[in-house]
């Protein structure tokens, strides 16, 4: 049953990947990519990696698609890709084949799927599964590995989101005064936005109004319940960001900026990472190593060293959620307004 399911979903994924390459209309490609992400999410879920599936669904199929659509909105949807020369094509094909053969040859060497005796299942994973509850009071091992055992990685993953936002923002941002100069001196170098029509649809506004509170409530649940069920700061943050993007799409750009202004976005994105790193620094001052949450029991009321870890994990998840939420929103605003922050999708 599961094998048949795997074969179907994997062949569909392959189909989507090839289709996305061949469709000349970029909007079509993006939609196919969204389908690709959903199918990937199914595959992860079948493999028992629910947290990964969750992330894929929210990031890959959700906001990822929105970003691509808003990029197409402010650039072009016609693919003007020039075909490479035959020799170059053959060369690239050969490279891909060599890598493919190398990868396929390893398949026979790999342990069976779900083999309990394979090194990956006996060494570190076994330790985490056996000790997570005793050492951190967190039943969802993924969360305890992510936020505590390997919390230092996660802090930098949050940083990656921060960098993505700051990078996109600083590359695209065009100041108003500068825009005027550019418009008068060299209008050809500027990408021109398509003529903008104010969409003022009561149906869309009402529908999104109905959806947003539930999305946000669910997102908060995902963040707070990450200790016990799949989810956590990343996924919850993305859903929160998506709810803001939904509002921005259904209203106009002015409304979008009134939710969070440009300054506030930058402030909050930094604040999220700062919460994470700040918890680490507090551990310094309480005499522990960086991110050694157990020493936090000295300042948290009614906790022992183990419960302190659990609480601190919630703290860092909130930091992650804040950064992810606001950067998703900020990236969307930058892309859809082409960096002008005046009008957009």
């Amino acid at each position: 049953m599961i094998l048949g399911f795997d074969i179907i979903s994997l062949s569909l994924i392959l189909l989507c990947a090839v289709l996305a390459l061949f469709i000349r209309d970029l909007m079509g490609s993006v939609i196919v990519f969204g389908a690709y992400s959903f199918l990937m999410c199914v595959v992860w879920a079948c493999n028992g990696a629910i947290d990964v599936a969750f992330t894929e669904a929210t990031v890959g199929a959700g906001v990822g698609t929105v970003f691509l659509v808003s990029t197409i909105y402010s650039t072009t949807r016609i693919d003007t890709f020039k075909k490479n020369r035959l020799l170059k094509q053959l060369f690239m094909f050969a490279v891909v084949c060599v890598v493919g053969v190398l990868l396929l040859k390893t398949v026979t060497d790999l342990p069976q799927w779900g083999d309990a005796g394979s090194p990956a299942n006996t060494h570190l994973s076994a330790y985490y599964i056996e000790n997570s509850i005793d050492q951190t009071h967190v039943p969802n091992v993924v969360t305890s590995v992510l936020a505590d055992y390997r919390g230092f990685d996660t802090m930098f993953e949050t940083c990656v989101v921060f960098v993505a936002f700051i990078g996109i923002f600083s590359l695209l941002r065009i100041r108003k005064s500068k825009t005027k100069n550019a418009a008068t001196t060299s209008p050809t170098t500027e990408l021109t936005l398509p003529p903008h029509q104010e969409v003022d649809s009561l149906i869309i506004k009402t529908a999104s109004h109905l959806m947003v509170p539930f999305m946000q409530l669910f997102a908060l649940y995902v963040v707070a319940h990450g200790h016990y069920s799949p989810g956590g700061g990343f996924q919850g943050g993305v859903i929160l960001g998506a709810s803001l993007i939904l509002l921005a799409v259904s209203y106009n750009f002015k409304k979008a900026l009134s939710i969070l202004s440009e300054k506030k976005i930058i402030l909050l994105v930094s604040l999220g990472v700062l919460i994470y790193a700040g918890i680490g620094v507090i551990c310094f001052f309480l005499g522990g190593n960086f991110l050694d949450y157990s020493v936090l029991h000295k300042i948290l009321p009614a906790t022992d060293t183990i419960m302190a870890r659990s609480h601190a994990m919630l703290g860092v998840e909130i930091g992650v959620a804040l950064t992810v939420m606001v950067s998703m929103y900020g990236i969307y605003l930058s892309l859809s307004s082409n960096g002008r922050f005046d009008k957009g999708l």
């Binding site: 090194p119 570190l124 390997r150 960098v163 990078g167 590359l171 700062l274 310094f284």
Partner: protein, 496 residues
């Protein structure tokens, strides 16, 4: 606080990058000062660590107080202690240097520049310090993302050049990640020391071989080894001056460090050289890289572009040295990371000063540059001498070790390539001296009145880092014996 030094080296820049972003909203000019303070502090802690490594021995720092294979570990030993200090010092010097240049080139994006700058260095420091293969990947991502943003900031042609780099860099990172994935399947661990222990206890399977190959390919892409170098020249040429001053000395060198680390601390050095026996192919690749880099550099008219091709050639030095498979070759390669870092920095700083004052860096606009900017040219010449390999500078010593390593391994092609490369460097730099020193003489153009060239130097914030770097080139050269006996040889003893 001293035992927390390894973490502080990375945490201070990370936190300060966030503060730079926040404070930059209100006080954009303060970000320059904050960046300098940050890297001054980081340098101090890096120096403390270096001192401790030399006197006491390798340091291990565990995050979250989880013992090594379960949590993430920072492992500072003789190989990376000095590289960490180099990264901090380079970042400190470039931070000082960037003040005027950034105001001129980027204007209102100052806080974003410094925030990305600080995070980039955080990433590089983390890559160098970490003892965890996956943590290395995460920081690789940070340094890559920030470098894309920094390179593209100048706009125009930089966009497409950076886009090419983005594609290549992502492919490289993917290969590295695949390799680490295979290692995880085989060993169940991500900690480098732990992987090494598990791998050495059983025979190397085909998957481990593929893991090693993928990690190497990933790093060769990141460091721009010859056939994979095409992204580098354009990306570095069109970038803002301060960005290329920061990236050119650090990015590729850190990738070389990762290659050395993987060869020695994760995989078995004996296995690589006695069972795999790829060394002839890789050294041949290095020879091609050196020759191709030198020849392509000769063809360039723009000095900044010429230097980017020299980086491609220098990568050949280090890869070749590491794959010679003997102590001298390895000494040369790891010493050259430091030496090349500083000499690339020195030349890029000097070219940056010229671009700041003259406007471009083509060879024809170098006329009379010695009269116009004598102090800058002193720095430039010391960097150039080091590139060529003239004795008191550190470039000579790394070349010396590499050549003796090549002689021991009977890698004659590599030896000849090193000598040819030195000759080409000599030709390149003397061509600049010729144009800059002799072509400006009024007797050359007697027909019309040549406007008298007046001294017009770059500001002090640019000159001081340049001269400091030039001084460091000679200083490192003079302390070569100490670096080799106290840092490189103790490390080599572990596996040779």
């Amino acid at each position: 606080m001293i035992e927390q030094a390894p973490a502080l080296i990375v945490v201070i820049p990370l936190i300060s990058a966030l503060f730079i972003t926040i404070i930059g909203l209100y006080q954009p000019r303060v970000s320059w000062l904050l960046t300098i303070i940050t890297f001054a502090l980081s340098s101090i802690f890096a120096f403390i660590c270096l001192k401790q490594v030399v006197t006491v021995g390798p340091i291990s720092y565990v995050f979250g107080n989880w013992p090594a294979p379960f949590g993430i570990e920072y492992a500072i030993d003789h190989l990376n202690a000095l590289i960490v200090l180099m990264i901090c010092v380079v970042a400190f010097l470039v931070a000082i240097y960037s003040k005027h240049d950034i105001i001129k080139e980027l204007g209102d994006k100052i806080p974003h520049f410094y925030s990305l700058f600080t995070l980039l260095v955080t990433g590089l420091l983390g890559i160098t310090l970490t003892g965890d293969a996956f943590n290395l990947y995460v920081l690789l991502e940070i340094s890559a993302l920030t470098s894309y943003a920094l390179l593209a900031l100048s706009g125009g042609r930089a966009y497409i050049a950076t886009f090419n780099y983005l594609i290549m860099g992502t492919i490289g990172a993917c290969f590295y990640l695949l390799g680490v994935g295979y290692l995880l399947i085989n060993t169940g661990s991500l900690n480098m020391a732990d992987i090494s222990v598990i791998l050495s206890s059983n025979t190397y399977s085909y998957t481990v071989l593929v893991a090693f190959l993928f990690i190497m390919i990933g790093m060769w892409t990141k460091m721009a080894l010859f056939p994979l170098h095409s992204w580098l020249p354009n990306a570095y040429t069109y970038a803002p001056t301060s960005t290329s001053c920061l990236l050119a000395p650090l990015m590729t060198k850190v990738s070389v460090y990762v290659m050395l680390r993987m060869m020695t601390s994760v995989f078995n050095y004996d296995y690589i050289f006695n069972v795999l026996q790829w060394q002839h192919i890789i050294v041949a690749l290095a020879v091609i890289a050196i020759l191709a880099g030198s020849v392509l550099a000769l063809r360039q008219d723009n000095l900044k572009r010429m230097l980017t091709y020299l980086i491609v050639a220098e990568i050949g030095y280090m890869v070749g040295g590491a794959w010679l498979g003997n102590a001298n070759g390895f000494t040369g390669a790891s010493y050259h990371i430091i030496a090349d870092g500083f000499m690339t920095l020195c030349l890029f700083l000097a070219i940056g000063c010229i671009i700041y004052k003259v406007g471009d860096a083509s060879l024809s606009s170098m006329k009379g540059i010695f009269t116009k900017m004598p102090i800058t040219m002193v720095g430039f010449l010391i960097g150039a001498f080091s590139m060529i390999g003239i004795p008191p500078t550190c470039g000579f010593f790394s070349k010396w070790y590499l050549i003796s390593g090549a002689y021991e391994a009977s890698a004659w092609a590599f030896l000849v390539a090193l000598l040819i490369s030195s000759l080409v460097n000599a030709v390149l730099f003397f061509r600049i001296i010729e144009v800059g020193y002799f072509q400006a003489l009024p007797s050359e153009e007697p027909n019309h009145h040549h406007p008298k060239i007046t001294r017009d130097e770059a500001p002090l914030t640019m000159l001081i880092p340049l001269l400091t770097t030039a001084g460091l080139l000679i200083g490192i050269g003079l302390y070569t014996a100490d670096i080799v006996t106290y840092l490189i040889h103790p490390f080599i003893k572990n596996f040779l």
